[in-house]
């Protein structure tokens, strides 16, 4: 508990604060509110305002200029706009919209302006980072080469994500997109990766649930939550992902690795559509404004891997898009698919068939992550993606045929077992070396004689066995990052022996 302060101490502190107060004269240009609707104010005057400059209303409320015209400016109001009236005055602050950043943000829950939402007191900032920033150019970047271990077998094996990559999580509602993102964050404990979870337009109860999960798995120690809930004004929902990216850039500029989850960008596009329509900007397809592509491209382009010469930090982005009835060809999904370096597609059919995470392997790709995968994983999972895609085709076809040739049958048998092996419960991420030994058993064909129903039992027992009896082998795989001839032989022997006694 904090030591109790006497009234004298408090009074002294207050006196100290105002001791240096000098009389200052306030000079500048001021505008008048002509019109205010749904969080957007139109002001007259303020002709010398800059784009993205903060505007202060006479009651102390802040806004941001996002529409500059000859005679008037459009300002989105940050926070509650109900006590701003027509005829109120406002003035430019000369400061571009920025967010206070510091190491102290880690473990906190904040709104997109940097105010604490977790009731643990205000956060002192070292620096201010602009919310909008042009992404680093080509010269400053280096190719992606370090993995983000998500701890999810299906992703780490088949759709690997690298540090500095942008990988989209896309799918219908309630198909496990957020769960995969949360799993990834939970798995970063001790991995030297700072995580930022940006909640955009979500129910407050859902955000509370997510924070609870972070606390339960001790993941809040390396995580920052930026939340603009469904009840917050559209302006804050619009700014939230940029604020998250700015905080990420602060750590990236210090040479650290950062992971930002944007949950989700569909709602972000909705918030921006609302603002644009109120500002009377011409609307296009699905009533989105013309610059909705740029809205997301400039955000996701800020994800990058900085070259070692300039500190070598990285910012990985995991944007989430919610599709309606699996419609991937809607406006926002196609936009974001084309911006990102690959996508992980979640399918309701798989989800309800009990295949979780419900990833459709055929439609999911990672365009740059392959070079970030550790060698051992490449060795055991190299052909996995192709095999599973083929298995799905064959399985669909085999439903109509009674007898199949030996090879097809074998392929199907193998596929069923691999799919079973890749199933994973929520919030139990798996270290990469354990994934490697499991997939070694699966792709090596050691499980082909095992009943499918016993696979998950095998998984648990085998991993327990490895952890207790062959700890050094696991440590070796982790350390070397590849399977040498020697380790392969040893692993082969252990697996065969275990299967025999199982």
């Amino acid at each position: 508990m904090l030591p109790r302060k006497t009234t004298e101490v408090i009074a002294e502190e207050l006196i100290n604060k105002i001791k240096d107060a000098k009389s200052q004269i306030d000079v500048g240009y001021q505008g008048t509110v002509l019109n205010i609707a749904d969080g957007v104010a139109i002001l007259s005057g303020l002709t010398n305002l800059k784009y993205s400059e903060m505007v202060e209303f006479e009651n102390g409320k802040l806004g941001v200029a996002i529409n500059l015209e000859q005679e008037q400016v459009g300002v989105i109001i940050l926070g509650d706009y109900l006590d701003i009236k027509q005829g109120d005055t406002a003035k430019g602050t000369g400061r571009l919209l920025s967010i206070g950043v510091s190491e102290k943000l880690i473990g906190r829950v904040i709104d997109p302006l940097g105010n604490a939402l977790d009731g643990k007191g205000s956060i002192k900032s070292d620096k201010f980072y602009p919310i909008e920033k042009i992404a680093p150019g080509v010269v400053k970047r280096s190719p992606v080469n370090t993995p983000v271990q998500t701890g999810i077998k299906a992703i780490d094996a088949m759709i690997p994500i690298g540090r500095g990559q942008r990988e989209l999580l896309i799918g219908d509602r309630a198909t496990g997109k957020t769960t995969v993102a949360l799993d990834t964050i939970i798995n970063q404990k001790g991995q030297n990766l700072i995580c930022i979870y940006v909640a955009i337009g979500q129910k407050a109860s859902r955000v509370a649930q997510v924070i609870d999960i972070f606390q339960k798995f001790a993941a809040l120690e390396h995580t920052i939550v930026v939340a603009a809930n469904a009840s917050d004004p559209a302006s804050l929902q619009y700014l939230a992902p940029y604020a998250g990216a700015s905080i990420g850039e602060y750590f990236m500029d210090k040479g650290k690795d950062v992971l930002v989850v944007y949950d989700d960008l569909s709602k972000h596009a909705w918030a921006y559509r609302q603002i644009s329509l109120i500002l009377k900007r011409p609307s296009g397809r699905e009533a989105y404004p013309g610059d909705v592509f740029y809205l997301h491209s400039r955000l996701l382009e800020r994800a990058c891997k900085i070259s070692d010469k300039l500190g070598g930090g990285s910012l990985t982005a995991l944007p989430i898009i919610e599709t309606q009835a699996g419609d991937m060809s809607a406006y926002i999904p196609t936009n974001v698919i084309s911006i990102t370096d690959g996508q992980i597609y979640f399918e309701p059919d798989l989800f309800f068939a009990g295949i979780r995470p419900a990833i459709n392997v055929g439609l999911s790709v990672s365009r740059v992550g392959g070079s970030a995968q550790i060698k051992a994983m490449k060795q055991v999972a190299g052909k996995l993606r192709l095999d599973i895609a083929q298995y799905r085709d064959l399985a669909a076809f085999a439903q109509f045929a009674t007898d199949l040739d030996e090879k097809t049958k074998h392929q199907i048998e193998r596929g069923v077992r691999i799919v079973e092996l890749l199933k994973q419960n929520a919030f139990v991420p798996m270290p990469v070396e354990e994934q490697v030994v499991l997939l070694f058993a699966g792709t090596g064909g050691y499980l082909d004689q095992l009943e499918v129903a016993r696979i998950s039992q095998f998984e648990n027992k085998f991993l327990d066995f490895m952890r207790t009896s062959h700890k050094s082998l696991l440590a070796k795989i982790k350390k070397e990052g590849k399977l040498t001839d020697e380790t392969t032989e040893a692993l082969k022997k252990i697996t065969l022996e275990f299967i025999k006694s199982f």
Binding site: Y29, G31, Q72
Partner: protein, 76 residues
């Protein structure tokens, strides 16, 4: 759309003398390069000091404003 006012509006807590008004007018003329008539309005809400308004431009040296500044430093 915004209103073009054609005067320099000086609000003050107490009535200013014509000497004082002339002095302010000269300063404003020099600073903003405008030649407009001066209007003095009483506004006791300012407590002390005065404010000047010419179109969008303003200068606020009122006591209320000073107190507001102090309030803000205390809340920080």
């Amino acid at each position: 759309m915004h209103m073009e006012s054609d005067e320099i509006v000086i609000e003050s807590a107490v009535k200013l003398s014509s000497d004082q008004l002339d002095k302010i007018k000269l300063d404003v003329q020099e600073k903003l390069k405008v030649d407009l008539p001066v209007v003095n309005k009483l506004n006791t809400k300012l407590i002390g000091g005065f404010t000047i308004r010419v179109n969008d431009w303003f200068l606020d040296s009122s006591l209320v404003r000073q107190i507001e500044f102090i309030k803000r430093t205390l809340l920080e």
